[in-house]
């Protein structure tokens, strides 16, 4: 199965749910969907096209909105499903019902971006160290960190 066949099959099976399909490089396919169509698209991909292996979930802070990318691996390359959610109301449906192995990535997403993943089987807050201040999400672009002064043992005061 090469890229073209995958694109053809995806279009014919899930064409109504997909906003855009891009194929920027060999064995790299990017599919854009609306957030509410995410779970059916992922389910369809898994069932019909054998995209069972979720490689990663990345979040990107675009300013006004967050982009979430689900990277799938396959024997014939890699497929990425992307979707955008507004920053004001960062909610996304969990895909754990389709791919149980996604849980860690989605919890990471909750932790680093403050995106709320709905219906996560294990929604324990995924804060960084114990006692990390609530509301600080390190990977948001507007979050800056100032390194505190270090004490140098035996150094100048």
């Amino acid at each position: 199965m090469n890229d073209l066949e995958i694109i053809e099959k995806t279009k014919s099976l899930l064409g109504d749910k997909i906003v855009e399909i891009a194929n920027p490089a060999v064995r790299r396919i990017f599919i854009k969907v609306e957030p509410q169509n995410l779970v059916p698209v992922v389910g369809g991909l898994k069932k019909n096209l054998n995209f069972t292996y979720l490689a990663a979930v990345s979040g990107v802070d675009l300013g006004e909105s967050f982009e979430i990318l689900y990277h799938f691996g396959h024997n014939n390359g890699s497929l990425t499903v992307r979707t955008q959610i507004p920053r004001a109301n960062p909610h996304i449906e969990s895909i754990c019902s389709v791919i149980p192995g996604a849980i860690l990535y989605e919890r990471e997403l909750q932790d680093m971006f403050g995106i709320v993943v709905d219906h996560l089987p294990d929604p324990r807050p995924l804060v960084l160290p114990d006692g990390w201040p609530a509301g600080d999400f390190p990977l948001r672009k507007d979050w800056k960190f100032e390194r505190p002064e270090e004490i140098i043992p035996g150094g100048k005061k």
Partner: protein, 139 residues
């Protein structure tokens, strides 16, 4: 006389505890490599011990992350006196490339007192050996 015996025995038998506070594994595998046939620190009586209660020298690697800070202090407290700390690698000294990251407290010396610093990214097993020997020379 007794003091001399004790001093001699301390120099001849430093048991080490390997403490990883968030290192990238490079220094750790070099420490383990120091135990293996080519470098063989057991020649100097060094044994790698599993629990802090048995250890004399803590070999610490890696920058201190916020999460592990309290555990490091606890392990340091659990080690019976006299105890020494060797910071191995650039991260344990200052934080190396991770200096300035939000989850890093800096080098090991920000948390517990350090006796010997061994530079390198990662420090070679020979350098680690040298660090241990230098520490013993200070006794």
């Amino acid at each position: 006389m007794l003091n001399r015996l004790v001093r001699w025995s301390r120099i001849k038998s430093p048991w080490i505890l390997h403490l990883n506070s968030g290192a990238c594994n490079a220094c750790d595998i070099e420490i383990v490599a120091a135990l293996t046939p080519r470098f063989d620190v057991e020649r100097f009586g060094v044994l790698l011990k599993a629990t802090p209660r048995h250890a004399d020298v803590i070999i610490a690697t890696g920058p201190v992350t916020r999460q592990i800070k309290d555990r490091i202090i606890r392990i340091y407290d659990q080690t019976p006196d006299p105890k020494f700390v060797i910071a191995v690698g650039a991260c344990a000294m200052s934080g190396c490339v991770y200096r300035g990251a939000y989850n890093i407290m800096g080098g090991i010396d920000q948390v517990i007192p350090v006796n010997v610093y061994v530079p390198g990214c990662p420090a070679r097993p020979d350098a680690i050996l040298d660090g241990v020997v230098k520490l013993l020379g200070k006794l």
